[in-house]
Point group: C2
Chain length 458, copies 2
């Protein structure tokens, strides 16, 4: 048997789990632009945010200076149930590609939520519990965030109300059942339970719902019911902060192995996974201590980075959320039904947007069928069925490895494998049947989205 110097899987010890989250913003010379109150056009204050979000989370959201936030013990205990996650050397994929490149991936799918979302869900649920709240509300589309939050709330004994986009509620009954098994109440949105839901149903009786509408319902329930707050699974600074655990563990594992990645790749929807994975590496880059090529991969059907505008926009299609300065296709942009539901967001984390704008990272858009081709190759060689979202990163990692094959370079390529595809088999079926298509919005499609951008620019 070949004795490989680097093992297939590198696990940190439990006592090596990082004890603090890293706040990338602290090392940014140009900070991400502040969230604005859409009514006044002025930066949102803690006072304006606390009726919606938990107090501690508001502090984290607005703090651009503190580099490290200690992780509370209770959250560390929860992390130990499913962390540290493995840093995997993709020997089998390398062999199939016949590349001199060394491919690594950080696998975040070994928990029932099936993704990295749990890292922030437990943090947000913990602060809600600490504040003495009864419960939290949220929305979910594909269902990964809702599942993660349900798990965290079940663990802490917190009530969890999930508004699930009606079409997903009907088409993804299994995701719904996981959430119910974890004790969450799952309501198809729009519903009759909220004012905004009733209004939408009256105007559009046959609607199958939207993420924007589900957000509106979740926020309404949180603000109208004493003891409840609203929580969100991506985009926000606080979420990137919690997700830094991914990158911190990855860096610690690489340090143990004595390996330095050359290229770091992550899929980008709202930015939670990418922002978490790259955090400590980007920190070194910002401080001038090291250099890395960092690549964000997005679907060609929803190309916020590669074809969007860097401008203030609403975070939700319902235009009730704060304004954020980010790469955006316009909150009215309707992405085609790409199977990577987690990447179908018109905007992007303000932090990542600023970093991209300032030239600290690259971005690339890939098409759906080539993503599933990569997913299948990965599944067959590495034995893990990847989520469609994660497979965007796999596509780019394979492309970089094939480039190394041409040049003969032995680069170390790292990508984030955010989750598993067990609830995405309708998409795989379409691919297996040769029925999957690609969609790239025309410039006219994009122009319609841009036309809806608010007239603010701070």
């Amino acid at each position: 048997m070949s004795e490989n110097k680097v093992p297939y899987k590198t696990y940190l010890e439990e006592n090596e789990i990082p004890k603090a989250w890293y706040n990338l913003r602290a090392d940014m010379k140009v900070k991400p632009a502040p969230l604005l109150n859409p009514g006044t056009g002025k930066p949102l204050t803690a006072e304006e945010l606390t009726p919606i979000f938990c107090e501690e989370l508001v502090k984290q959201e607005l703090d651009n200076d503190t580099a490290y936030f200690p992780i509370p013990d209770d959250i560390l205990e929860f992390y130990k149930m499913y962390r540290p996650s493995p840093l995997v050397r993709a020997y089998c994929l390398e062999k199939v590609l016949d590349t001199p490149a060394k491919i690594y991936y950080k696998f975040e799918g070994n928990n029932t939520s099936g993704s990295h979302k749990l890292n922030s869900a437990i943090a947000q649920a913990f602060y809600a519990k600490k504040q003495g709240l009864k419960g939290v509300t949220t929305e979910t589309g594909a269902g990964q965030w809702g599942t993660a939050l349900s798990m965290a709330c079940a663990y802490l004994g917190l009530d969890c109300k999930v508004f699930m986009v009606k079409i997903s509620y009907e088409q993804k009954p299994f995701r719904r059942e996981v959430m119910r098994t974890y004790g969450a109440s799952v309501t198809p949105s729009p519903s009759m339970e909220t004012e905004v839901g009733r209004k939408i149903l009256a105007e559009h009786p046959g609607t199958t719902g939207s993420l924007g509408c589900a957000i509106s319902e979740a926020v309404e329930v949180a603000t109208k019911n004493p003891g409840y707050r609203y929580v969100l699974g991506s985009v926000l600074n606080q979420v990137l902060l919690h997700q830094s655990i991914i990158g911190l563990e990855t860096k610690a594992a690489f340090d143990k192995l004595g390996v330095k990645p050359d290229i770091i790749i992550g899929c980008a929807g709202g930015g939670s996974n990418l922002g978490g994975l790259i955090a400590p590496f980007m920190g070194e880059k910002l401080r001038g201590e090291a250099d890395y090529r960092i690549i964000a991969v997005e679907p060609a059907s929803c190309p916020s980075f590669t074809r969007g505008k860097f401008a203030y926009d609403f975070c939700d299609t319902g235009m009730i959320c704060p304004l954020a300065k980010m790469y955006t296709l316009g909150s009215g942009f309707i992405p085609s039904p790409n199977h990577a539901g987690g990447l179908r967001f018109h905007g992007m984390s303000t932090t990542l947007s600023q970093l991209y704008h300032d030239g600290f990272m690259e971005a690339r858009a890939v098409e759906q069928t080539s993503v599933f081709e990569a997913a299948e190759l990965f599944a067959r060689s590495e034995g893990l069925l990847p989520a469609p979202e994660s497979s965007h990163a796999i596509r780019a990692a394979i492309d970089e490895a094939l480039r190394c094959k041409e040049t003969g370079e032995e680069k170390n390529i790292l990508f984030g494998l955010t989750g598993t595809g067990y609830f995405d088999l309708k998409a795989y079926e379409q691919y297996n049947d040769g029925k999957m298509t690609d969609y790239i919005p025309t410039d006219e499609d994009l122009a319609k989205g841009f036309a809806g951008l608010p007239k603010i620019d701070a």
Copy 2:
């Protein structure tokens, strides 16, 4: 943060993965009775078995004396993709139960097949490849075995033909798609592709199929096509041999921790998981070196151990397979539609049957709703959604832990968590909706099954 002496998860290093499988039969004073040729009533020879099974596997099947079989390097390399699997200390479950017992579980679900089945699938596929075969055939009901075999065959570049019980093929399209993604051909059984399939369809045009029929089709294709052999995922001695990796790793991890389990619990369908988990512990017990309470848990709806007869019987409902001496409900016994598909088998491994008969282990039958109650409690506290099969072991482990609470005993309880329940959410839905029922066969039901037992007794 509390510094626990035993970590939540104990992983062996990759170079600590056992290098040989352990053959429990070598330490049995009373060996399991041999398989008989149903035509002659005489023990099956290697010559009779090699047209159906791979040569190396036939040797393993018939060898009651060799204690250790070295694991080939190629299989060890594959094992490294998803092994060592973690031995988990269930701190959170212990806390919820408020028990002085210490609960451990060996988790085999961290791979896309979602279960321990992959341990034997890669071994069987490897020997087929080594023999220069083109491919293998098999049947699958719930789909875990078929998925595992597809993964192993994709890795080795071997053709994989799976006959999937038609009702499962239609009701579990996602399992089917996983197999297709791994390149397997999946045929609903009965099919028009085989003589036996055409015969059955002519006689019963509306049939939704059965495992017995799917076995018959898979065996026919294997024996009629040069370069193919048939493989099976449970019951056989060779499968228990490969699955010993579970127990060997568990024992190595316990030795590292300096812990000795008092009670070892596994669910039992055909016996592959239970036989693998207990192997080295049972070996010590047989050699008089240690004592353990070992408990097999089966569904009350299909109680082979607790209400079956120890007699020669056919392994399949189609009565084409060899006769095995085992605890059986009769090959004609039709179990109620319990959701633990992997435990709906009328018989039991000959090795485990002999050990149970000789008093080396206990058995217990549990009802479906109490199993899902345990599954939900486990999911909410430990964060993993368990397979219905595995949840039988969880039920018994919880019951033992609650008994410790009464007596104040700090027993070490180990159970096998064979897999995840991501493809079993129809069952969870039924439980969440309060629509799940229990079924216990009457003595008359059992008498019908026993009436069909063959008149051989060696």
